[in-house]
């Protein structure tokens, strides 16, 4: 099975507190620590496990600049054989439709049986997989938390509300967006990354992909983020202050008043 997994480099919310910059219109980007989008690690792990079972190769692809090389190499250290970087100034500020347009062009350069994305990334649109599938006229299932390989088709579980799992049969080739928890992504150490540091990662720009720059990036985006802000909120929580003993005493009173302590 030839599998393409689409991955993204994102600010790591476990390593950074995401804050507004001093101008108050963007997040503070200095000193941000980046990593691979959490969902994508599960997608790459799933791809590797499928290939371990039925053979084939895993290729990881990302839209990004030179810095995105590190996320491709991290996923290659997990076990993906190939990486592809889609890099062009014209790709900057693409909306999800633009990203899917680029990934489609990259996917059509190969011949993949299965394309995977993470269910969502930092912006929370959960869109790229479904768009890519529609653009390529392939069947799609989102929020996949189980994959079984069959003959010319897959049986997939989709995570739906309330912990229920929706089982579907889906014809290959297809696109899946992968939900966290489907597997346990393997650990990658410095050594593993060093081992893949020499592998050449082909890079494509708009011309190389045969994509009209006007259809991607800021130029092609119909959905545009104007700014970041912190909303004026209503009351919010009543914050308990004072020494730890005082806070605990107040907390115990609140728990008692609400019937939580007998």
């Amino acid at each position: 099975m030839e599998i393409l997994v689409c991955v993204k480099r994102v600010p790591d919310t476990a390593e950074n507190e995401i804050e507004l910059n001093s101008a108050g219109n963007d997040i503070e980007r200095d000193d941000l620590v980046y990593s691979v989008n959490e969902w994508d690690n599960y997608a790459v792990e799933e791809a590797i496990q499928i290939v371990d079972k039925v053979g084939g190769t895993v290729t990881v692809v990302t839209v990004g600049d030179e810095d995105a090389d590190e996320v491709l190499r991290r996923e290659m250290a997990m076990g993906a054989q190939n990486g592809i970087l889609l890099n062009d100034e014209a790709f900057e500020d693409s909306d999800a439709m633009g990203i899917a347009t680029l990934l489609k062009a990259a996917a059509e350069k190969g011949k993949y049986d299965l394309i995977m994305t993470g269910a969502q990334a930092d912006a929370g649109y959960a869109a790229v997989g479904g768009m890519l599938a529609a653009m390529m006229d392939l069947p799609y299932a989102s929020l996949v938390n189980m994959v079984e390989v069959g003959d010319g088709k897959l049986t997939v579980g989709r995570e739906i509300e309330g912990g229920n799992q929706e089982i579907n049969e889906i014809e290959l080739p297809c696109v899946l967006s992968i939900q966290t928890g489907i597997n346990e992504p393997r650990y990658v150490g410095i050594k593993g990354i060093r081992q893949v540091s020499g592998i050449e990662i082909p890079e494509f720009d708009a011309a190389g992909l045969g994509v009209d720059p006007a259809t991607v990036g800021a130029a092609g985006a119909k959905t545009k983020r104007v700014d970041y802000f912190i909303p004026e909120t209503g009351e919010g929580a009543e914050m308990l202050t004072g020494s730890t003993e005082e806070i605990i005493a107040k907390l115990i009173d609140i728990m008692k008043a609400n019937g939580g302590l007998k």
């Binding site: 919310t13 929370g124 869109a127 479904g130 509300e161 119909k222 545009k224």
Partner: protein, 317 residues
Amino acid sequence: MATVYAFVAHSDGVLDDSAAELAAAAKKFTDAPVTAIVTGSGVDAAAAKAAELFPAVWKIDAAELAYPNAEVVRKALLNNLDAGAVVLMAHNTFGMDLAPGLAVKIGGAFVADVVDIEGADGDTLKVIRQEFGGVVSTHVTVDMSAGAVVTIRPGAVAPLEGAAGGAVEDKAAGDVSAKRKFIEVREPEAGDVDITKAEVLVSIGRGIEDQDNIELAHELAKAIGSQAEVACSRPIVDAKWMDASRQVGTSGKTVKPKVYLAMGISGSFQHMGGIKGGVIIAVNKNPNAPIFQVANVGIEADILEFIPELTEALGEL
């Protein structure tokens, strides 16, 4: 602006709560009548309910639509929608399955998980959404000139009240052959405890940092008493540190305890969507954590220090 539609979810003849929220969301940017779309098999009751909220209803009734398979529903919609349609739907697991591909096929714009709509300026829709799990908000503009699909976060927009008295129009599904076939829905296995019955939940999130620290939460629950149980957010289940039956949220359990102690939980809408009552007390080391906007009581503290201290204090009562 082209016609605005609202795809309405329902089950057993009852509309999903999101239906009235979509009706309200549409009113925020258009005065034109909004058409609800109800799909399924044998959906007269749901269509009649939709007509109470919307001035017009399309009923697409076909055996193939009995279970909402996104690929099948998309075809049924595309067989009916006019070019440039603007379609609203809920940002739930079905909306996530259907909406992005529908936007591609309509040839329009897409925006997901909208928490509020500021209005429309001609064909430009202005919405508010969140990024990074709700830590920051963003203003987003959407060019609707060639149509658009807009998904609205469940529970974010106050539902519309009042009767619209719309008419139901039958529409044919058309060819809905699909490469994806629905088989069945599997229910989760019952776990060792039923957190929905507990009066107090000590709920831990990624802030617990290490599997070994989970014991702290169990000790606290024990000190509170037999009315308390330990629950958790999703990353704890994903890491296989706790059983899925203890997960609170849209993809986990819906709980209604008297007291919900959220320990090291950021407050994502998927987590909070599972808490339907009681006083929510959040302990978080980040004063800007989004959970402090939705909790009733907040404490800025490191849970790894705070939990043992609370356990000890309770032991001395």
